[in-house]
Amino acid sequence: MPPAPLEQLFAQYYQPLVRMLYRRTGDQDRAEDLAQETFTRALAAPPEHPRPWLFAVALNLVREDGRRAVRQGRRLQLLKGELEGAGEGADEAFQRTAESRAVRAALDELRDLDREVLLLKAEGFDYDEIAAATGLARSAVGTTLTRARRRLVEGYRAQEKDRHVAS
């Protein structure tokens, strides 16, 4: 099957890619940069099976990104932007932001592979695609997902418990 034109790939996958990368990094600017860099690489080597290829490259780029301090700095700016969400009351916006922060914190606590499998599943990847994008054996995807889901939920509950105790 010949590679799809870049516009088609872009229209189909750019937004989900940014969304996944945002969930992975917590930084929309960085997520958009990484997504664009992913498509730049697709220019050089148009993939035959674009979805797992694009997401695999994007996750590799995240792993290569060692600028954790910069990301943390940007996260503070991002929080400010979230609080200024249009069309919401301040209380609702704050609650949504607090929950989102707790979820991201719980995601950050997961092992890399667990987190990646979870985020790809959230983007509608089936087990074969998750295996292709992560290098995991297809037979191991189910057990990895089970573990990741449990740890995310338990981690989030722990975050919420700490937040309520502190307030």
Binding site: R19, Q28, E37, S100, V103, L107, D126, Y127, S139, G142
Partner: protein
């Protein structure tokens, strides 16, 4: 039947089991309370984790989504034909420069130093760029695809290309319009690009080449959208000549500029022109958010690549300039 393992339970929840395996699992669940409890717990975690992940979404509209659907009037330049001509002329230029130390174009593999730019809004210290790599070996299927897509060549061009051998062959394949289909030429992006004083009207390849002394550098694997003539900038140092801007479009259809200026007229010394020394690379972030990578070409050209891309992407593209 033995108890269901976590993987099988997950596959059942996610609809990944084949019919026979699914039926067997459901039958076991009907008979085994312990597995039923584990299944229920796993399903609860799956539902909750999906809900939690859905709460994490980019706070603002994702930029760059949606390519302009209509073709831009006036852009009926036969780029494939001009691409052939450019590759031939480039091959001729490579042959001319074959006796000169160093390559015709490209980023130095190991810049010795980064020196401050003259006009940065934000200056980023340039790291050593990624090693210059050959044109990506995307696999035999990509090269055969390139060969299949390549139009038939006029005999005289084929002969010249044969004489220039490997570099011309690579350029012929690289000029293939992979990035954007000719039938869907997108309007150039509006908005973020700040107009520059040096921009002038667009020019054809034939008009652009004399400004650079007969060769023009292109990015391997990308199709140029437009050529613009660059005049010497006001107040620039000695040796600043006119140049050419090759305009590309990045995936969100924003302009990517490859600017090339001759630093000195033929016979003049270009070594001390501007703020750059050969081997230096400067990375600058401009007020409009555009990043620009600048360097000196051993053949006496000032090159810059600028766009709304990460620095690593610019370096990667710079390594593909031929």
């Amino acid at each position: 039947m033995s108890h269901l393992d976590d993987g099988t339970i997950a596959e059942l929840i996610d609809g990944e089991l084949e019919d026979a395996a699914r039926d067997a699992a459901l039958l076991h669940l009907a008979e085994c309370a312990a597995c039923r409890a584990r299944h229920e717990e796993s399903r609860s975690f799956a539902t909750e984790s999906d809900r939690l992940i859905a709460t994490v979404a980019p706070p603002r509209a994702v930029r760059g989504v949606g390519l302009p659907p209509t073709a831009r009037p006036g852009w009926r330049v036969p780029w494939r034909t001009l691409g052939w001509a450019a590759s031939v002329l480039l091959a001729t230029g490579i042959g001319y420069y074959a006796g000169v130390p160093g390559e015709v174009a490209g980023v130095p593999e190991s810049p010795r130093a980064v020196r401050p730019a003259a006009d940065p809004q934000e200056l980023a210290r340039s790291e050593a760029p990624a090693p210059v790599s050959p044109a990506p070996q995307a696999g035999d299927e990509t090269r055969s695809q390139a060969a299949a897509d390549t139009p038939a060549r006029p005999p005289e061009l084929a002969k010249r290309e044969a004489q220039a051998a490997a570099p011309a062959e690579r350029d012929r394949q690289s000029v293939r319009a992979f990035a954007l289909a000719p039938a869907a030429e997108a309007p150039l992006a509006q908005g973020k690009s700040a107009p520059q004083a040096a921009d002038l009207a667009t020019v054809s390849m034939e008009e652009a080449l004399p400004a650079l002394g007969g060769t023009i550098r292109l990015i391997d694997g990308m199709t140029p959208r437009q050529l613009r003539r660059l005049v010497p900038e006001p107040g620039a140092g000695p040796g600043n000549q006119e140049g050419v801007r090759v305009v590309y479009l990045d995936p969100p259809s924003r302009e990517l500029w490859l600017d090339q200026r001759r630093l000195a007229a033929p016979g003049e010394d270009a070594a001390k022109a501007g703020n750059l020394l050969a081997g230096d690379t400067i990375l600058v972030t401009l007020a409009d958010g555009r990043r620009r990578l600048e360097w000196l070409d051993p053949a006496g050209f000032h090159l810059s690549l600028s766009g709304f891309l990460p620095a690593d992407s610019l370096r990667s593209l710079a390594g593909r300039i031929r």
